[in-house]
Amino acid sequence: MNNSTIRLKTREKANRQKWILITLGFLFFAVILLAPLFTVFYYAFAQGFALFMQAIGNEEALAAIWLTVKVALIVLPINMFIGVVMAWTIAYFNFKGKAFLTALLDLPFSISPVVVGLMFLLLFGLDGLAGKWFIEHGFRIVFAMPSIVIVTLFVTFPLIVKSLIPTMTAQGNSEEQAALILGANTWTLFFTVTLPKIKWALIYGVILSNARAMGEFGAVSVVSGHIRGLTNTIPLYVEISYNEYQFIAAFACASLLAALALLTLGCQTLLGRLQRRKVEKSLHSRTA
């Protein structure tokens, strides 16, 4: 056997190994991730499109969809505001305790959703610290929309901050300082210098927190009280319908959330590609 046939054989072997690994990976991927995804759409449309539309158009389902959209519409602007303020403070300034603040941002992800719901039940419940005051002044927080908004804020606010901080730290604040010295006021500074810089990271964070906001289950389940047509969000409606063996209703609404998840992943990929192209462009213009 001469050298070239040995080399050919090792290459063949490497090639075979490659395809075995790819096939194994695909199998696992299909069983663990693709199968559940297809199951959602399969059961949603198993009895035909008409029944699917009927399940979505049902009064309770529509109320759940509307409530979910309302909660997201309230949560997202608050998240954007808090996210930009926090990222501005943490990324653009140096201060003591910065690492501690950044670590606190990871906390909402590491606490079980049920525990999150319990914490806010304690705060705003009938005997809660803030709950008493609100009830005396005629506000309903727990078992009503405000509590759903608050727990959703808790589980989603770090997403925007955490997508902004790396971009803002990497790009630095020298452009803002230059604009300031040239006489820009705070608002012009933000809207003409900072916002264009962080645009993509902000959109990325908003899309991610929208998906989480519309899909949050455990925490909302504790504080919402499951009142039909009033405090049921889409995930809660999915749970109730499933437990009552109304599978078409459950999977039809679940398929809306699954479609939202796919849309979110699509946007994520697209934004990632846009950002990479931007970075490459700026590198290119710098070297040219």
Binding site: K18, L21, L24, G25, F26, F28, F29, V31, I32, L33, A35, P36, L37, T39, V40, I82, V85, M86, W88, T89, Y92, F93, N94, L104, P108, S110, I111, S112, P113, V114, V115, L118, M119, F120, L121, L122, G125, G128, L129, L153, F157, N173, E176, Q177, I181, L189, A211, G215, F217, G218, V222, V238, E239, Y242, F247, A254, L257, A258, A261, T269
Partner: protein
Amino acid sequence: MRTVLPFFKRGMTITLLWLFSMILLPLGLLIATALQLGGTDIWAIVSSERVVASILLSFKMAFFATVVNLVFGFLLAWILVRYDFWGKKLMNALIDLPFALPTAVAGIALASLYAPTGLFGGWLAKIGVQIAYTPFGIAVALIFVSLPFVVRAIQPVLESLDPAYEEAADILGANKRITLTRVIIPALAPAIISGAGMGFARSLGEYGSVIFIAGNVPLVSEIAPLIIMSKLDLYDVRGASVVALLMIGISFLLIFLINAAQWQIGKKMMQVK
């Protein structure tokens, strides 16, 4: 560094107020509520058969899921980084599905899929295996939930790992197994520990994707968040707080251990350099 930028004081005030009222106040209240019970009562709840069984169950199933995900997560990261094939971009985007898909949706999908009437459940029933409504159902749900943690932790490190190291090992006479255990895995160790650790921590508190498939039989297939739920149904707020505090304590301990392990490994790497 001195900076002339405005809005630091106001930004800091808003940040601190928000973090205080959203995180520290509710957390403090949880601790205060749990401590309203005396030491003996707290111990009675923490050491009760149901709570201990649920925590042990979560640990066992999360451990099993983590081991499965370490093997297959590494495999997925490897083929995504090193090979080109049809459908690679789609696969790469869909790895994050468990992050984006609401847990309740994942829960009912997995339960229907693995139920004896479902597609996988039907096949498995033929060989006499039942997954749904048994503790193994929990493991299946946790594999789904924590897979992206492992893949997304390993992927970037593998991308920056130059294949030249493997070639060097190969030329110096190392076989595939030695290259894997002595060259590739040590370089990936910090990423593997943080990815698997975060996935494990997330698994312990997971609720939505687990409850539909678990069966929820006390002492057999009941997870800790469900105990909190059933205590709340009985208006036992203090008891629920004790269990919640126990769960938070465990997950903080885990995060601390992950950071300590990473720090240790980092120190070792510095010495080598």
